[in-house]
Symmetry: C2
Subunit: 130 residues, 2 copies
């Protein structure tokens, strides 16, 4: 998997918290992945998505997984992210040029419904009641 890069994608925010979260989660993701892990943001924070793709230059990856740190699909994951990546919006995958080489880019699904999210939300509710 060393030739697979992961581009962790955040929404971006005028406040610092989204970027802090995305960077912290990207570090955790990097501990479970042999290849390079980078971050990029749809709005308001740097790097933007084209710059995030460019940040794989020199890594030798042949494939990049665009991994949206979004809970659910929406206009951002269905339209904006594929457009910014330069891949087909329906297939949500395609080939882009990184440093003159063709690299396959594939969009992962958003986090979605999972018991671990529900359990974490319950923990936040309990903390609020203390």
């Amino acid at each position: 998997m060393k030739d697979v890069g992961i581009l962790v994608l955040g929404h971006g925010s005028s406040l610092p918290y989204n970027k802090e979260l995305v960077e912290a989660l990207a570090q955790m993701i990097g501990k479970n992945h042999d290849g390079p892990v980078r971050t990029a943001y749809l709005n308001m924070n740097d790097p933007d998505i084209p710059a995030g793709l460019k940040s794989f230059e020199g890594t030798g990856v042949s494939k990049i997984v665009a991994l949206p740190l979004f809970l659910a699909h929406g206009v951002h994951t269905r339209e904006d992210i594929p457009r910014e990546l330069g891949v087909d919006q329906n297939k949500r995958r395609g080939t882009v040029a990184v440093n003159g080489s063709d690299v396959e880019v594939v969009c992962a699904e958003p986090l979605g419904v999972d018991e671990c999210i529900a359990a974490l939300a319950c923990k936040r509710a309990e903390e609020a009641l203390r």
Copy 2:
């Protein structure tokens, strides 16, 4: 905890996926909570947040935890949600009238950085590579 309600808050979307996610997670949350669980949306979906508060009428709750299904703090959790709830933006708690009775409303933290989110994201990356 039967006298504590949970108001699960979603961002809302013009596409159906955010509402589907919020409703599914609210059901899971309800399995771990004795009191009433309701949902509301900041944007685009119904019920909105004032209607979400009103939906606790007749339940007899003395306290409501507003539980944002957002990954990180941002303008939505810091400003918009407290404003829509009618509570102080700094304290993110206060008292609101539900069916003529005073009910304490307290905002929970967003989901935040957690290993379970990183693990779920890694799973989504692996699925995208299949």
